[in-house]
């Protein structure tokens, strides 16, 4: 019987494939949703749980939290670096700046301090930690994607989501981070000052005292003004590093957010109280924001569950219809089998064997789809979540 059933399925591979695909997809929707959301919530919760507080510009708490955790979501605005100093001066917490307004080949460029790496448990797998302006560390997955190793260089993208910068900056890759299976794997890290250079706040150029007179617009005793012909450095090297400088007060320089690590629960409570009514900045608790976000996601999932149930029921009904129609079309075949001496039970077993083959193939296809989703799904979901702003 199994052989005959298999021959039937193989001969009618077109219709069988359609049926298998329909069954697999109908089952895939609820299974994949369950698996992916389960994985997403674990990932979101685990990263949020080790990020006690985040400070940033007043606006969407979700955007700020996702930006601080994943570096991709847009923030309502930047905050001045002085906020980090202010938190540090309070003595209640350590603040780690994050300046993630720019990208390198579409990979987030995160300007921070060396405190970030022990805080996230990150270690350098190859090369060394950045130490100079213009140096960067690349996350494990990002390194694979960009195809870089220590000693290579990367150009920053000229278009950020904040504004158009005039020139790309060439970054020197000095190390590759060990894989952490977190969003840190998908980012490029550098000193926060390097981001300010990318931003255009800091720059390096030819020594004005040594350039040709025609480059200069005005020359006074205390002040020299140069024109656009002055050569700006797009790469920071040991030779030109000394020429790089910043205009303005560093306390006013922008960062997109800062991680705040309170000394203890009491310090956390005091900080939250102190910042809760600030007119421009906000201090948020990522675990709380993530729970609120997940609550929304699961409300949507309940709707999806109902939809999946309806799709499942309709698919089963359609499958039954297909089988009944198929049996009508096969009436002549069944009559032949009976005339030759086939028992009704044997014919029923033949049909059952065919259905088992179809169900097995559908289960196999479902397993493949789920495996693909398991592998690529969290990234896709995270991308979707961040693109839609949570």
């Amino acid at each position: 019987m199994w052989y005959l059933a298999w021959r039937y399925v193989v001969y009618h591979r077109g219709p069988t494939s359609l049926l298998v695909t329909a069954l697999a997809l109908a089952a895939y929707l609820p299974v994949a949703t369950e698996l992916l959301l389960d994985r997403l919530q674990r990932e979101l919760r685990s990263r949020a749980a080790i990020t006690p507080l985040v400070i940033g510009h007043l606006g969407s708490r979700t955007d700020l939290t996702l930006h601080a955790l994943y570096f991709r979501s847009q923030v309502p605005g930047t905050i001045p670096y002085g906020v980090v100093d202010e938190v540090a001066r309070s003595g209640y917490a350590v603040a780690i700046p994050l300046a993630a307004q720019h990208t390198v080949s579409r990979v987030p460029l995160v300007g921070t301090t060396l405190d970030y790496f022990p805080f996230r448990g990150l270690r350098v797998a190859r090369g060394q930690m950045f130490g100079r302006l213009g140096e960067c560390l690349v996350g494990a997955r990002a390194a694979r994607r960009l195809g870089v190793e220590p000693g290579d260089t990367l150009l920053t993208d000229t278009e950020s989501f904040v504004e158009l910068t005039q020139y790309p900056l060439k970054l020197h890759v000095v190390g590759i981070l060990a894989a952490a299976e977190t969003p840190d794997d998908d980012a490029v890290f550098c000193d926060v000052k390097t981001v300010w250079v990318v931003e255009g706040i800091g720059h390096g150029h030819q020594d004005l005292r040594e350039v040709d007179e025609e480059v200069l617009l005005e020359k006074k005793e205390q002040e020299i003004t140069a024109g656009a012909a002055l050569k700006q450095y797009l790469e920071i090297t040991p030779e030109n590093e000394a020429s790089f400088h910043f205009h303005g007060n560093p306390a006013d320089f922008p960062i997109s957010a800062a991680l705040v690590v309170p000394r203890d629960d009491r310090a956390e409570t005091i900080l939250l109280g102190r910042w809760q009514d600030h007119p421009s900045w906000q201090l948020v608790e990522p675990p709380e924001v993530v729970e609120s976000l997940l609550a929304t996601v699961f409300r949507v999932k309940h709707l999806l569950d109902v939809a999946a149930l309806l799709v499942g029921v309709s698919t089963v009904l359609l499958t039954v219809l297909v089988i009944l129609l198929s049996l009508r079309l096969r009436a002549s075949e069944m009559e032949t089998l009976f005339k030759l001496g086939c028992r009704r039970a044997t014919a029923a077993r033949l049909i059952a064997a065919e259905l088992i083959f179809v169900a097995t193939m559908a289960a196999g296809l479902l397993a493949v789809l789920v495996a693909i989703s398991w592998w690529a799904g969290p990234s896709l979901l995270r991308w979707w979540l961040l693109r839609t702003g949570g």
Binding site: Y3, L4, K339, G341, C342, R343, T346
Partner: protein, 249 residues
């Protein structure tokens, strides 16, 4: 299968050569024996009545008659596909009308070879698999390789030995009827029933198929009953039964 049926062996050689029957004739030997047979389809006016008919074992008989006279119905009754409303049907010593449904199915598988006018091959199987189909649906314990060897030998004998792995959809009508013939013969039946086996074939194939039927029925010492409209095919038969003789009985 009842004890009675299962213990019944193949026809003895002694019954061969028995006198040919007419519609009302009689003969010795456990070939086919029908007595006081009555059958009617529900909700129709059709009625088949055969007072008495006997075919000696190993004889080749043609059944002719007008369309709708009940020729195909008779074959179905002999094969145990239909049950008579009254009367007795004895095939190779087995009272087919007394068997249960399951016993009749097994009886068909083991003792009857049926050749249909429209071939009735399974489109999703190749030549070999169609030939061994009765074994596959009969839960045979025969080894697959043995079955295939027998099927190949039969196919070779009827001239389609080079088509074994070909799907039956890709065969000519003549080739398909050869496959159907092999399927009927694979179980070495004691009774071969052929319902208009040449109805869909050209003259050349008609004679070839009939020759093959006769040849293999003789080899198996099987009784052959062929329903046909074609009077040109009855000359090689041991006898001819005309349904007109039974109509109005």
């Amino acid at each position: 299968m009842s004890e009675d049926a299962s213990n019944t062996g193949r026809p003895e050689a002694a019954v061969r050569g028995a006198e040919v029957d007419s519609a009302h004739g009689s003969s010795a030997g456990p070939g086919v024996r029908v007595a006081e047979l009555e059958f009617a389809y529900r909700r129709t006016s059709f009625q088949l009545r055969i007072p008495r008919w006997e075919v000696a074992a190993a004889k080749h008989v043609a059944v002719t008659g007008p369309s709708g006279s009940g020729k195909t119905t008779l074959l179905h009754l002999l094969a145990g596909i239909f049950l008579p409303d009254a009367g007795a049907i004895d095939v190779t010593g087995v009272r087919v009308d007394m068997l249960t449904d399951a016993q009749r199915r097994r009886f068909r598988l083991e003792r009857i070879g049926f050749v249909f006018q429209d071939f009735r091959l399974l489109e999703y199987l190749d030549v070999v698999d169609n030939i061994v189909l009765p074994y596959r649906i009969g839960r045979s314990r025969r080894r697959n390789s043995d079955l295939r060897e027998r099927a190949a030998a039969l196919a070779e004998a009827v001239g389609i030995g080079d088509r074994l792995r070909r799907n039956v959809q890709r065969l000519s009508h003549g080739e398909r009827q050869r496959v159907a013939l092999c399927r009927a013969l694979i179980g070495e039946p004691e009774l071969i029933l052929a319902d208009e086996p040449t109805g869909n074939l050209d003259p050349r194939n008609k004679h070839q198929i009939m020759e093959l039927l006769h040849e293999h029925a003789r080899r198996l010492q099987a009784t052959l009953i062929v329903v046909t409209h074609d009077t040109g095919l009855v000359s090689e038969m041991d006898s001819v039964v005309d349904f007109k003789d039974w109509m109005g009985v």
